[in-house]
């Protein structure tokens, strides 16, 4: 009997030493998991980037805590992006202005030249440059790019007027001309993942009628019912 218990203890120790606890309530295995987002419009699967550990870790931590469950997509602009992550949206009244809620911390920017705002990119919202020159990300608010397709001249114009002369790499130009995206946000907002399944859901959310500017809030509530970490 004693031998049996020892084996059990050994097995438990082995399992947990292979999957140690990390900061934020995560375990090592969680770092290799995708995120399943179940919304009132369908399910979206997100893959987080290993190159942006601060953002990906923070997002996984919040997902595991259930932070995003019941949150609204509170800002939707067709052919641009859909945004969520404001905890105040859980119990918001119809038409209320949203977008200021979140944890009391920000996440330092993690710009990577190879992570760009193609259609399906997952990125962090943030306060404007005037109050946030370091371009630090919101602790919880995020958006998914729907974007639009660009012509070569359209991209030239983006480079000239909106990227202050920064050149978009050729491979990324090709993606913006075929798949589409929002290139003017590149290197200004941290991209930390992408949609690997469920872009039809993103398109459906983006097509929702909204209040229009300045809040762009969907007239009918579109809610994240549940988010969870799932095996790849």
């Amino acid at each position: 009997m004693r031998f049996g218990i020892s084996l059990l203890v050994l097995a438990v120790i082995t399992i947990y030493s292979c999957n140690p606890r990390l900061a934020g309530g995560l375990r090592k295995h969680d770092l290799h998991k995708d995120v399943e987002m179940i919304t009132t419009r369908g399910t979206i699967i997100l893959r987080l980037s290993d190159s942006t550990p601060l953002h990906s870790g923070n997002f996984r931590t919040l997902v595991k805590k259930g932070y995003y469950d019941s949150i609204l997509f509170h800002r939707v602009i067709r052919r641009f992006m859909i945004q969520a992550g404001d905890p105040n949206s859980k119990h918001a009244t119809a038409g209320a202005s949203l977008g200021d809620g979140g944890p009391a911390y920000t996440v330092p920017a993690e710009f990577r030249t190879f992570l760009f705002h193609k259609r399906g990119a997952l990125a962090a919202a943030r306060e404007g440059d005037d109050v946030n020159p370091q371009k630090a990300s919101s602790g919880s608010q995020f958006y998914i790019v729907q974007g639009k397709v660009f012509s070569p001249a359209g991209l030239d114009s983006i480079e000239q007027f909106r990227l202050k002369g920064r050149k978009i790499p050729e491979d990324q130009r090709a993606v913006y001309q075929s798949l589409g995206g929002a290139p003017h946000l590149d290197q200004g907002y941290t991209v930390f993942g992408e949609v690997i399944r469920g872009m039809d859901v993103v398109d459906s959310i983006a097509a929702a009628p909204t209040s229009g500017r300045p809040n762009d809030r969907p007239l009918q509530e579109i809610r994240i019912l549940k988010m969870r970490l799932i095996n790849r």
Binding site: Q83, D86, R126, F150, S157, Q160, F161, R162, H184, Y189
Partner: protein
């Protein structure tokens, strides 16, 4: 607000707001081009004929794209009307891109004249 900004749209709304402040009414694109045309023509008349209004819009477009080297000022005629020469073809773009292209040039123009 924690938002990914469509910076062009935001800057455009800011320009519209400043024009409303100045003129008491939200101008459409045609009116903005008319304003640029008058600014470039340099003379505010009580009345412009329909043809002159079209000329003013043409002056506006040429002046705006002159900023990016698509046109240059060729001469000013005896009546004070500027004439432009096209230096290169305008880029081939989709309709929404054309609108943004024009907006970008208008924003640059107003920035350069210190409005």
């Amino acid at each position: 607000m924690q938002q990914a900004q469509d910076d062009l749209q935001t800057r455009w709304w800011n320009l519209e707001a400043r024009l409303v402040e100045r003129f008491g009414k939200k101008p459409d694109m045609e009116t903005i081009l008319f304003l640029v045309g008058i600014q470039e023509f340099g003379e505010l008349r009580n009345k412009f004929s329909k043809e002159q209004k079209q000329d003013l819009m043409h002056i506006a477009v040429c002046s705006l794209f002159r900023q990016s080297g698509y046109y240059e000022l060729e001469r000013v005629d005896e009546d004070g009307w500027p004439h432009f020469r096209q230096l290169k073809a305008l880029p081939v773009m989709t309709m929404p891109e054309q609108e943004n292209f024009l907006k970008d040039h208008i924003l640059l123009y107003f920035e350069n004249i210190g409005f």
